[in-house]
Symmetry: C2
């Protein structure tokens, strides 16, 4: 694609106005919003107000002035982005901790079913969490299956099918409705990890009939580093499933201070300890930018950005591992190359931030809200320069750091 | 005590310089630092730097520039306040979630012991969490015992003794060394909840021989609303106990993205998901104020503040439920009164913020770092005014709110 064509797409982009709502460091094209979404300009004011006024001036009184309901309020803002009702989502803890709650709850729901089925190569924390969760339920086990064999792995013993909707590495997207139906036909519950989906694609949990979902706040939803995560429990399960991490914030009457646990109704029972108020404030600010956004426009723009960068990468001989069919992928694109690490480092040195995933994947987030078509076009040019010139072979780019 | 005597104490107070390091809203005397510590003046700059520079400008690169080690770094700052080594404390999740990890780990360590003993009337979330934790270990149970019968409740079947070191309501303090020894004599592990102790009294976990501890960041440690919590695991247990909430941040090689969980060495294995980076930054800022502070001075000042407010309360006929012996209490003071709720509300209306605990307790935090003797003297005068005048009987003060 030519520069002029990218400019022309920007000129008619209905989401073009959002880019300026984010801080864009000078000289940086940020293709890592799928790992840590950039800073919304409004968020500094939101966190400053939280710190200076709500904490500093109002002190403990703020619990009655908005803090106590923040997990539900922020959850309700996520709901339209994932096809859920406002009272089916709550924000708390980390994705890993929320997943533990969901998996143990599902396993305890029907003790005749003992197996959690998930995909080999799923985002590792999902598998690690299930390892922990099955240890909390006698006889339960995790069955990790290659993608091609997943359908056959479902059976009478399956308690839960757990998928990451959009794969963290390849961006491959499961068909949510089809797999939820398959899980239900086998008599199992279906749990979706939406970490790479929320704000990236139009998610329709209720339309698909999903039972449980979790997801993170710091990627496409721009909630900030280590933002609290969310958990979705379909309305029909809310009074039937139990949160194994029973804590005071999930109690029916937390301020009665009674010795026995009695779970709250609705999503509130999925809370455990005191939530991160600071994290909730930043997340709420990030979610305000999503108000009124048509997810069909997000998907359409993602397709256009993807086409630009796909063309640039494949022209340079990179092997694209992300499906070509937009319905079968999320909003990032990954390439395979034997010098993936070095190319990513060379790009970062030139101001194009993407990331590397072991052992040979270059991954780039194409976030429709924060990038223009011209941004992605420029990043593609930079990729071309670095590969054509062989610059990535410079030994400085082979040096490894703690977080890759 | 006279105003002049309080002034004289302030004049020789070695901690007097700290009060001005905190934001003090005009017209407020804040006796609730045991519930939510006030805002350190430096914290707004710390959170603004986190948001604007680290997140906004450095973006994902900040993970390599300080974020990834923050849980250990901030944990090491807590260590001297609780008598632990720097590599025995890590900051993550909530107190409730960390307690779940500790209790399940202790129960699984020796499957021949099945009982967790704790105190009736312990801070409720501790009991709720143990209810959840025992459900994760076949045959395990929680035994809740009145304080007077606790020693007799320890036996061959006890896996863990769990106490809140300083009681949230009465401020009564357990003798840490004596009870840890009793637990060990019975063959049990000892876990301390330090939520009302850290920064309030000199805690000596290692000297007492404690095995496990948890605590919160938002009270005396001034880490901010919903600050991440901490967990302590004695060095000798770190490689032997397993975190039941196995997640990627606790993996030996989180960025290798392998399917199987392999716990990190040391405290890192007690991490689960991505930590709250924003919360860690605020907490770190709060903890900087504790650097170099002599906890003996904290305890001495607590005694002086307590004497002032105790005299004021008892002079008004309030029944003090906090032990008179400083070694047997923390740094808050509680009174019983049939109109506790109304008196607390009337005090708040006059700018003296304490809190009410169901059904008839007035609770006041006497935080040595943030209060002067004159502050507490003024608060005592206000208490006298409200009770002597009968003002607390005004019906407006009987109105209840969500968080009490």
């Amino acid at each position: 694609m030519s520069f002029a064509a990218a400019e022309a797409l920007d000129a008619v982009d209905p989401l073009a106005g959002w880019r300026d709502k984010f801080v864009r460091p000078e000289g940086i094209i940020y293709l890592d919003g799928n790992s840590l979404g950039p800073l919304p300009k409004a968020t500094l004011a939101a966190t400053s107000d939280l710190v200076t006024r709500q904490w500093g001036e109002r002190l403990i009184r703020s619990w009655n002035e908005g803090w106590i309901d923040a997990p539900q309020r922020v959850g309700a803002m996520i709901a339209p982005l994932i096809g859920a009702a406002a009272d089916e989502v709550i924000v708390c803890d980390s994705t890993s901790v929320n997943l533990y709650k969901a998996v143990v709850a599902a396993l305890r729901h029907d003790p005749s079913r003992k197996v959690v089925v998930s995909e080999a190569g799923n985002f590792p924390t999902d598998l690690y969490v299930v390892e922990g969760a099955v240890a909390a339920v006698p006889g339960a086990e995790l069955r990790v299956v290659e993608r091609g064999a997943l359908a056959d792995a479902l059976g009478d013993d399956t308690a839960l099918l757990l998928f990451t909707h959009v794969h963290y590495k390849t961006a491959e997207r499961f068909d949510m409705a089809a797999w939820t139906t398959r899980a239900h036909r086998a008599g199992a519950l279906m749990c979706w990890d939406l970490s790479h989906s929320g704000g990236a694609v139009a998610v329709e949990l209720n339309a698909a009939g999903a039972d449980l979902a979790v997801g993170c706040g710091y990627k496409y939803l721009n909630g900030g580093p280590g933002a609290p995560a969310f958990i979705y429990v379909a309305k029909r399960w809310q009074e039937q499933l139990q949160n194994p991490l029973s804590g005071w914030m999930g109690h029916a009457a937390p301020f009665d201070f009674v010795d026995d646990y009695r779970p709250a109704s609705g999503m509130k029972r999925w809370l455990t300890g005191t939530p991160s108020v600071l994290g909730l404030a930043a997340f709420e600010s990030g979610l305000r930018l999503w108000e009124g956004i048509d997810l069909a426009q997000i998907e359409a723009k993602s397709v256009a950005l993807w086409a630009i960068f796909h063309a640039a990468g494949t022209a340079m001989g990179l092997e694209c591992v992300t499906p070509a069919d937009p319905a079968k992928r999320g909003s990032h694109i990954s390439f395979r190359h034997s010098h993936a690490y070095e190319i990513v480092q060379a790009l970062i040195a030139k101001g194009v931030i993407g990331d590397f995933r072991d052992p040979n994947i270059l991954r780039f987030g194409l976030t429709p809200l924060t990038l223009s078509h011209v941004d992605v076009w420029h990043a593609g040019e930079m990729l071309r320069d670095i590969i054509e010139s062989g610059e990535y072979r410079n030994p400085q780019y082979a040096e490894r750091s703690a977080v890759t």
